[in-house]
Symmetry: C2
Subunit: 409 residues, 2 copies
Amino acid sequence: MAVGERPFPTMPSLEGVRLGTAMAGIKKPYRRDVVVIELPETSTVAGVFTRNAFCAAPVTVAKAHLKRTAETGDGPRYWLINTGNANAGTGEAGYQDALQSCATLARQAGVNDAAVLPFSTGVIGEPLPMAQLLDGIPEAFANRAGDSQAWQHAAEGILTTDTRPKGASVRVAIGEREVVINGIAKGSGMIRPDMATMLAFVVTDAVIEPSLLERLLRETVDRSFNCITVDSDTSTNDACMLAAAGTGARVESEAQIDIFRNALQRVMTELAQSIIRDGEGATKFVTLQVDQAQSRQEALDVAFTVAHSPLVKTALYASDANWGRILAAVGRAPVDAFDVSRVTIELGDVRLVEGGGRAKGYTEAAGSKVMAEDEITIRISLGRGDEAATVWTSDLSHDYVSINADYRS
Amino acid sequence: MAVGERPFPTMPSLEGVRLGTAMAGIKKPYRRDVVVIELPETSTVAGVFTRNAFCAAPVTVAKAHLKRTAETGDGPRYWLINTGNANAGTGEAGYQDALQSCATLARQAGVNDAAVLPFSTGVIGEPLPMAQLLDGIPEAFANRAGDSQAWQHAAEGILTTDTRPKGASVRVAIGEREVVINGIAKGSGMIRPDMATMLAFVVTDAVIEPSLLERLLRETVDRSFNCITVDSDTSTNDACMLAAAGTGARVESEAQIDIFRNALQRVMTELAQSIIRDGEGATKFVTLQVDQAQSRQEALDVAFTVAHSPLVKTALYASDANWGRILAAVGRAPVDAFDVSRVTIELGDVRLVEGGGRAKGYTEAAGSKVMAEDEITIRISLGRGDEAATVWTSDLSHDYVSINADYRS
């Protein structure tokens, strides 16, 4: 199940950027499960990773390789991704497997091992099927290409329980030149990113200094992937990577940075929202807008408390305008000296709550009409300040339970 | 659905304590929905209440009346409970309804209004059906009795989505006399009590000073109702009341207090666990023991993070020993400088995790055997200190979704 139609977009080619895939049979036969993304030598790369204390072996290796290439200036050239197995909770053996995967691709491509960053997604706690993966790497390397179909195949090659590939592309003028930003992502369950989502790979042809690239990545991830939740569970393998291929226009003045940041934010938000639209069992796409908060963190706390409430999520699934559950969730959010008489809650354009209770003039019919939609906005105004935050989430359906009660079978 | 058989226990009579019920048709016909619990004049009473900022009108009134009676020394004499409607999110009108309910019972019983504490449970945000409630109060008052059946009828009269009444009774010797503690509770969903569960009423015949009674209530609730979770949602109407009827032995020396506290803890824990066993859609009763923590709060944080994980809960429902999900949940708990290589995780007597990954010698068959049981213990040792905590929870099943997607229909 997924909310709305979202055909994969056309992705322009980026000079020097090529993507290859293989069907290596890591978990299932006849599906793309190994992806190689090649970046030109001119690239700068930034990444944000899960904060889960049990972070996966590939995350540890990717962070170490990213650090090493930053020191040597000999930037990362390859992102190597497998689906079907997360290589998480696999201890020292898993770490060695991640290193060996990088070495295999590095030898083939004629680069240092540290120029390869590994990523894995899939079941946690089982050994990485190395025979299959090592077979798949040369095949993926051999068929790499730069066209839109190659991007789509790569987007398919990183999926797990997702029902469709996720991509976004934006063009924006920087001075007299045009810059392109292409991104792909995967994720459907275990989605409450703490630094980034399950996996997202974004590439632009712009020229961007490493420290600026990292700042732009953190700023845009904070307002996209870090603002979505399917089920409050943070993955061991989250990573969001951003590469500036360095073949296009240079982004350095404040005005250029602003333009680029806005374009990058659009790509990040589109990818993050596409994960929610394809959330496990999702039948609704829900936007939670919290405003009039004392701080952005306070607004986020309220939004996530509502977004994680199983009772709100099941009411959304039932298209039931059970606003009492929203009120109860808001009321348990960690907010100091919370005066609920100042809170207003709106469902679409229908006022639900004011003065500590049901809004005057509210009718069940009006609430039910909004709830029947696939895309629903809940706006919560706290009456305490000027800060705001937006969080996107999905509902809790029978399919969510089925998918996760059957996942390993 | 509910885990295990739990027939309602035999409850000894307590001098001066009488319970009456009525079928007032507040939400459904032919079910007990109004309960009056009468306490003798010798009683002392303590209560803990929800911290939900949107607390219900009866909670506000009960706290105010409890305060007034503490000032006048003219202790509470009646607990008046209705099910079928929570009188929450009902603003000023709901507050007046709660006051009027108290006044009606007070007039009938010949006591001050403040001697009546009101409690409501059921759907949030709809006006309390006052005509039905006011009809039910005299009927419940008239048929009050002190025998075990009266306790069971009262336990039935406070249920909402619960599938069975919940009671616990313990006898304990204080010096040469025997003291009895009887308790009833309700709750099945919206269960993540922050002070107490949905509703619990506990009465002993002991003589206990008010300040000691309140301390004993807080201490035992902290290790019972505050350690359970079905779905992480804190109700607007939570309350746990404890009365010492003052007709039995006096509890005042340290030795007596210790004995009484242990007995009270047994009643509280039994009631709290009975809520989890009857959790909405529950097919498993899960005990989460976290030890070797730096603080009790840290242990509780880890335990609740695992207990709230939808992915752990669906794996429990599926009887799937998917220990990677437990590991991922532990890894995202809010623990500073978390060295996961020191963490061990055990499922029953089977070691799942050690050294940052799957334990040596672990087999899927061994894990699956434990997972097939109705009652499962997960023990997580953090390797950081000496503090511990235990939390009880249920699984996340299709029935949970069905119950909450259909609740209002």
